[in-house]
Symmetry: C2
Subunit: 452 residues, 2 copies
Amino acid sequence: MQMIRAQITNRSLTPGAKLPSIRSVAANMQVSKSTVVEAYDRLAAEGVIRSRPGSGFYSAAPLAPLSLAELAPRLDRAIDPFWVSRQSLEAGQGMLKPGCGWLPSDWMPEEDIRRALRNLARTTEHPKLTDYGPPLGLAPLRQFLSRRMAEQGFHVGPDQVLLTESGTQAIDLVCRLLLQPGDAVLVDDPCYFNFLALLRAHQAKIVGIPYTLEGPDIERFEQALTEHRPRLYITNSGLHNPTGASLKATTAHKILKLVEAHGVIVVEDDIFADFEIEPAPRLAALDGLEHVVRIGSFSKTLSASFRCGYIAARPDWIDKLTDLRIATGFASSPLSQDLVVNVLGSSTYRKYLETLRVRLAKARADTIRRLRALGIEPWLEPNAGMFVWCRLPARLDAADVARGALNEGVVLAPGNVFSPSQTATDSMRFNVAQCTNERVFTVLERAMANVA
Amino acid sequence: MQMIRAQITNRSLTPGAKLPSIRSVAANMQVSKSTVVEAYDRLAAEGVIRSRPGSGFYSAAPLAPLSLAELAPRLDRAIDPFWVSRQSLEAGQGMLKPGCGWLPSDWMPEEDIRRALRNLARTTEHPKLTDYGPPLGLAPLRQFLSRRMAEQGFHVGPDQVLLTESGTQAIDLVCRLLLQPGDAVLVDDPCYFNFLALLRAHQAKIVGIPYTLEGPDIERFEQALTEHRPRLYITNSGLHNPTGASLKATTAHKILKLVEAHGVIVVEDDIFADFEIEPAPRLAALDGLEHVVRIGSFSKTLSASFRCGYIAARPDWIDKLTDLRIATGFASSPLSQDLVVNVLGSSTYRKYLETLRVRLAKARADTIRRLRALGIEPWLEPNAGMFVWCRLPARLDAADVARGALNEGVVLAPGNVFSPSQTATDSMRFNVAQCTNERVFTVLERAMANVA
């Protein structure tokens, strides 16, 4: 193996060149043929060489290098709804990401996942390892979700639950079913930036409703219904992203009366449910899925590395969504769904969530204290979750601050990426779980000073 | 645990009822509190009971039953491009699926996958278990694909490869980028039925080109270019689905000259590459990704249970496709991508492919012999792959035969689900790997007799 590697490195074996025959190598090196076969097989497994059946072994094409663009953050990218996603997902190991929307990996239930992987490696249900799953997704996970929703107060059969590859894909499928280009869609202002990216991909007309401490501003909501005749309203009821606020019961009731009267469908994204200590009222629970589509995923508290989300909706829509999902993605991943239900059902996961909520409470308090020391004031001190929505001092432009911080390897989340009306220029979202490193605050302070 | 289970079964503990306190149970049963805690924890892990922190344990809502619709095949469904997908994916364990598009699970590289799962359970790269991956997908798999394409004769950097959740999702993203509703798209007639379902979801105008033993009928192809001014042509070059034919070099060259002249983009689906013994010419290799987008996946020979596909295209398109993919699905699955590259790189997988090709050759010969015995004639005896495209005797309607066979638990693939022009009424696709059970042929014979 060393000899072949050396010949490839010093180019005495050029890419695609035929390797000496097993017999000749065995003779020259005075080893058994089987030794040479074993060495060639290992090199082939590593991709250093390739076998062509009946023809012998050849040196492989060299490993293509990654381009610089992939190895460094792009500083020139416009600050749009993709900015935080791209910067956070592309950020190298060394970078800090107080702007990103997920927990640090060492906060996640890693041991539960390792156990689930070991269980799956031992499974006697062979198809689970290799086959497509049923159109709706694995039954045990759909039954688990059906039971959880029953505990939230509404009854949804497992055959009214469609498993998807992510919460985002769930909303995308709903939009594909219910939206035509040009349709108006209501969102909260501010809202999760990827709702805006998704709705642009659907050529929808985005209408922002100012978000208050009780939920969306109900008068503006009613005005928008008559003025824009929207098809959908997309929101998070429990732990709104980015503000960390929660929908109040009276607002929830008013929203439902209005959407019923105007024939609007609510897409309720329940992705942050497992962070909640006191669950907020749910539109899906009050309405029972007549005018509400419930979507959710497990990427925030379980894992984002295997993709799984769900849609709970009226049976006739589930049937149409299932065809749409076959047409556009064929099947979902039984392997991911098995890992998810395996972890969700474990008592250690339940204990992890309790510990996580306590850990986040401490991180929220610490982060808010440190932000205030820099003159950065939270809009609300949330009672759960990882996000704090803040205002920078002296009307500083958060986009300029974010660009400056990115130069020092810190990814921030400037307010306007969340704001359809672009009225959050001096606001910023902080992920408290990603703010435990002192450097976040020193870089932030310097970046603010440079734009002041 | 037995006591609580019994009380739930005999309804002395109704759903949602509070369980007796740990102290009281310990006292009544004269066991230690820790024993009761352990029992309650296990029941909670099973989902039989739920804990409400600070409040105690409650019996959980009952496990929701699956509806009958999920447990039996639907016989009333119209025979459209979804028919084979839905019937095959919904088919219970007992059913036979000579119409489906995948190998039996016991033909798949199960041990390689178990090993990859065990390796992943031991990984020291913690983020791989819990974090989102980079926007393009894991670098090692993109580098592997880049090297494989170099060996097919065209050079594509790893940063020109976008990993997706499936080959279908790959085509869907390309259609979302390049198609507007009403655009014309050329497909082969017959072609993979899900191309038709996907293009309908995009409201494209589908134009079928008769498929010949050399590839698409080149005169009809040229006519269609001038008549319909299509935006895309979607095809399989190696082992065409459903016919098992392969594109000939002269046809490939003519197609490229025509699409260059008319500004059409070819989407080349390479999903069956690993079945090939003598690789067919590739449009992507001849063109070098100027007018061709290469897509592919690993679901046919590696696993369909963890989803992974790819797009190789011009850098400017890859950047747009990456944003589109974030907007509509956020991130891909590093866990799936790690499992795929782990298996692809192993020497045992290479050996498995060699064995599989031999096994398929035998299955093709056996199946063709048995079909001929029933008067069913192959359009072509393919030299690789799992599909044989056949004509039924006496102009029998394959849809009627398929409905009859479904009544006896056998899923067939009637010709017109593959045919945009609906001119394959008496044709049928057989998957030779799913035809090893004698019952396939007895049911087929009876179904044909009943409609004759």
